[in-house]
């Protein structure tokens, strides 16, 4: 067997993350770089796109091409990027505030458009960057200074929505389980079409209760399926802490009309030739 071409450290930039000590996002960064090393594509062939929030700082912490977009619009940006440069591996990084609140609408349409990219949402069930407001995935009874008595609102269920909207790959992992997260990310990137991976990533500053997640997450009891109806039935019994791949579908990914030949960017290069 040949030695791997890249190490995880090849995908890590020299910028130190400014996340709080103990933040789950450090682990997500490790899983991402390990998965990229396993995939073996050069950093220059990978684009990491994000919106706004703690999670969205991640492009600068990688050595890949980075695009720190605007709040909630990472998926819209990524669709534009991927149709213009289908040769790139596109990783879209978001959080529960960015991706499900202000960007919630884009999530539905990215799932149904099924452009070949991987959407990773680092879910900590709180707005961390603006210091602790409840997010769409926050439990309705989470009592805090900024949500006295809890919001009383039904939480957003990302996996159900992804499945119902047509995502081609749906999974959940826990940031602390780097091995499983890495494996799932590799599978997600390799699977054609729109892949969605929710990574439960504790916010130790505003949700210290989430330190307990390491004890409450558990591998799903049922194997993955390519049948959306079976996946839907399984997700109905989900307690929110099941991890693993839920669904791997066979829907054909979106094809760009002009330049969608993976690896062939000759027409684009010709167009930009000076």
């Amino acid at each position: 067997m040949n030695a791997p071409k890249f190490k995880a450290s090849d995908y890590k930039s020299d910028i130190d993350p400014i996340w709080c000590p103990g933040c789950g996002d450090f682990h997500v960064l490790m899983s991402i770089t390990k998965a990229l090393a396993e995939l073996g594509r050069a950093p220059k062939d990978i684009a990491v796109v994000s919106g706004i929030g703690c999670s969205s700082r991640i492009p600068a912490y990688t050595n890949c091409y980075g695009f720190h977009g605007v709040h909630g619009r990472s998926l819209a940006l990524s669709a534009g990027l991927k149709v213009a440069r289908p040769d790139l591996t596109v990783l879209v990084m978001s959080g529960d505030g960015d991706g499900f609140s202000i960007g919630g609408n884009h999530f539905l349409h990215a799932c149904r458009r099924n452009v070949d990219m991987t959407y990773v949402v680092m879910d900590n069930r709180v707005y961390g960057m603006t210091k602790g407001q409840p997010s769409p995935t926050t439990e309705p009874d989470w009592d805090s200074a900024l949500s006295p008595g809890g919001t009383g609102l039904s939480p957003f269920h990302p996996l159900v929505i992804a499945l119902a909207s047509g995502a081609n790959f749906v999974a959940r992992e826990f940031s602390g389980n780097i091995k499983a997260s890495t494996r799932t990310l590799v599978e997600a990137v390799n699977h054609p079409g729109f892949s969605f991976v929710e990574i439960l990533s504790p916010c130790v500053t505003f949700r210290p209760d989430e330190k307990e997640w390491k004890n409450t997450v558990h591998a799903a009891q049922v194997p993955e399926t390519d049948d959306p109806a079976r996946a839907a039935r399984r997700i109905m019994t989900d307690d929110g802490m099941n991890t693993g791949i839920l669904y791997r579908g066979n829907r054909a990914p979106y094809r760009a009309q002009v330049s969608d030949k993976v690896g062939d960017i000759a027409p684009l290069e010709a167009a930009f030739e000076v």
Binding site: V70, G104, M129, T130, K131, A145, P148
Partner: protein
Amino acid sequence: MNAMSQTQGLQLLNGNHAVALGVMLARPDVVPLYPITPQTPIFEKLIDLSEKGQLVTELLTPESEHSAMASAIAASATGVRVFTATSSQGLLLMHELLHYAAGARTPIVLFNVNRTPAAPWGFWPDQIDSLSQRDTGWIQLYSETPQESLDSVIQAFRIAEQVKLPVMINHDAFYVSHAMEPVAVPTQDQVDSFLPPYRPEMYLSPETGCSISAPLDQKSWNLSRRQMAQAMAGVGDLVGSVGQDWGRLTGRGYGPIEQYRTEGAELVFVTMGSMCGTVREAVDALRGDGIRAGLLKIRLFRPLPEAALRAALAHVPCAIVLDRNYSPGMGGVLHQELKSALFGMSGPPRLHGLLAGVGGVSVSCATLRKLAAEYLLAAPSPDPVWVE
């Protein structure tokens, strides 16, 4: 003002918390909010006041600023008092609905914390976020201090509700939003005597059965803008009279503009927002150096108080506009506005447009003194100049 009234009820507050207290005293019925740095402390303080029972309002937390403004418009159309706050990207996301709010004549009061827009990302004081909303039909006020921000929020409701136009008040990120100073907080009785409950003559309800913003033919649409023009035409005087009323009540009067040591001035700095604080200091220092300098602070930016500006600069030989904003391809927005306001004036000042503090760059008193010496006798500069 006697010494007693200067110290009574003083609290150490940052600009954003001062805004929140002003909002509480104005008794809004609905407050839709979405968090954004550096506005969030307003949001936090309002939740805190609401939790303590001091603010009785419907705090709605929609999924984006766009939705916050949509909710604000609909709530306001039912005839209740509405407040919201945002900053930078949030204000830009609201843009579509800013036009709508003004066109629908909903007197919403919005507090914006001036911050650089992306790209590239930055969290620094810069006024281009709100200045680029100047054509949306909102009245715009700029505040220099936490005290002025608190006072302006309360006045803004009276202005908005009288002319049925929304009001946006702005203060600079961090320099005002997060810096603390002693603030006189008026009593609820004082504010209640100044700001009556909002009782519009037209509003959406099952009884009135009217509809908002149905598509119109060209003439009627045109008429809607003429009516807005008519309302805007009275705003300058109204801001003056409301500011005077507030002055009678609290000892702190306000107008569309403020002049500091402009009597007999040979040089006047024209600016708005937190920059005014530094300019006051520079003016004092320059006067000490024998240069007769002054400050013309613009508080009301929309509608621009043209007559007041022309009168204030009537016998001033040199005016230096300090713009903490940049309109690419043109220059400073205030400089453009002033050129237009002074057009056709006999004996206008030699006008200089300086891009000072764009992107939050700090402009010191020493820099201003140097600029004064450099431009005092210089020929007018038609093009904007970047200040190092």
